[in-house]
C-alpha cells in the first residue's frame, strides 16, 4: 500500500460493469516528506475521499476484495484517509 494525494477525478461512460457507480479518483504518490512524485494512478474510492486528501491505496486482487468480490476487474482502491503521519527516521 502507498500514500498519495487525491489530485482529481475521471469521468468514463463506456466502462466495465465493476466501475459503474464508483468514484474514479486520480491519486498522485507522495514521498516521505509528503512531496508529490511523478507517478499517478486511478484508484476507486471506498472511504469517501476527496480532492486534496492524503489517502492509502491498495493494489492487485486486494483492491477487488475491498468491494466484496473476489472476481473484480478493479486493481486499485483507496482504503483509508490519512489523519496524521509520524516520521522519525
Amino acid at each position: 500500500m502507498y500514500i498519495g494525494i487525491v489530485v482529481g477525478s475521471v469521468v468514463a461512460t463506456r466502462k466495465n460493469d465493476d466501475l459503474v457507480g464508483k468514484k474514479l479518483l486520480i491519486v498522485q504518490k507522495v514521498n516521505k516528506e509528503g512531496e508529490k512524485l511523478d507517478s499517478i494512478e486511478i484508484a476507486v474510492d471506498s472511504v469517501g475521499a476527496g480532492t486534496g486528501e492524503y489517502v492509502i491505496v491498495t493494489n492487485g486482487e486486494s483492491a477487488g476484495y475491498v468491494f466484496g468480490t473476489s472476481t473484480s476487474s478493479i486493481d486499485s482502491a483507496i482504503v483509508a484517509i490519512v489523519d496524521s503521519v509520524e516520521i522519525n527516521g
Copy 2:
C-alpha cells in the same frame, strides 16, 4: 489502474487461446498533464477503444476477470474509455 492513450495495435497469429478473437492494443501511459511517458503495454480491449483514445487499464488477475474467467492468461485489460479528466491539485 492507470490512464494511457491507445497508440497502436499488435497482430499475432501464434498465440494463447485466451487471446484469440481479442483486440491487442498498445497503450502508452500518460502523466497528470496527459503527456506520454516512455512505458507502453499490450492491453486487451473490452470496451471498444480505438487509437488516440484515453483509456483506463487494469492489471494482474483483475484483467482476467474482465473476460469472465478466473484462470485467464490475460494480465492487462482496457476497462474504460475516458470522457474527461478533472485535475485540481
Copy 3:
C-alpha cells in the same frame, strides 16, 4: 519480499475494516549496504516491529494471508524483524 527500515507510522480513522486495529507502519526500502532508498510503503505490522528496526515486507495477496484471510484488502505486510544480514558478494 524486500528489506526496509521502519521510519514512521500513519493514523487513519476512516478506513477499510481490514485495517481496523492494525498498526500501519511506514517502511523505507534499503539497498545492499543498508542505505535508505527513496521508495516508501505503508505496511501492516504482524510481528511487533517498531521505528528504526530493519524488517522484511511481503506484497500482494501474500500479505493478506499473513492475517489469515484470502480476501483481505491488505497488500503489504511486515513478516519479519531482521536480526542480522550477511553480505558476501
Copy 4:
C-alpha cells in the same frame, strides 16, 4: 502484458518441477519504436518462440494459467509471437 524480443535462453538442472521440460527464454523489453530497453526477464515459452522473435509476455498468476494450472510457480510466460505492430500515435 508487454512486448519484448527473445535474446537468449537459460539452462538450469536444479529447478522447481513446474519448470521441468519447459523452455526458459530471456526476453528483453522493447519500447514503442521496437528499441531494446535494459530490462530483461526469464519467461517460459508456450507458443514455440525463438531467438530474435518479438513476443508478448504475461506475468503473475496469469502466467501459471497458460500451463493449465492455478498453482504454478511460473510467474512469466510468452503467450504470443508478434506478426506485426501498427503504431499511429
Copy 5:
C-alpha cells in the same frame, strides 16, 4: 521471473510462521551481461542455492505455490539454479 545472484542471507527470529525453517537469501538482479543492478530482494530458497550462484526468482502468489500452499505469506522464491546462459541478441 528474473535472473539474479545470491549475495548474502538474512537471519530473523521474530517472523511469520511461513518463514520458519526457510533460508532467506538476498538476491541481486543482474542484467543481460550478468552485471549486478541496484535492486535486491529477499527470496526464500527452494533448490539449495548458495552465495555467488546465479538463480531464477519467481514472485507473487506463484512463489507461495513453490512451497505447496496457496495461502503463503511468501511472495518471492528461488526456483532454479542457473547452469548456463546463452545470449545471442
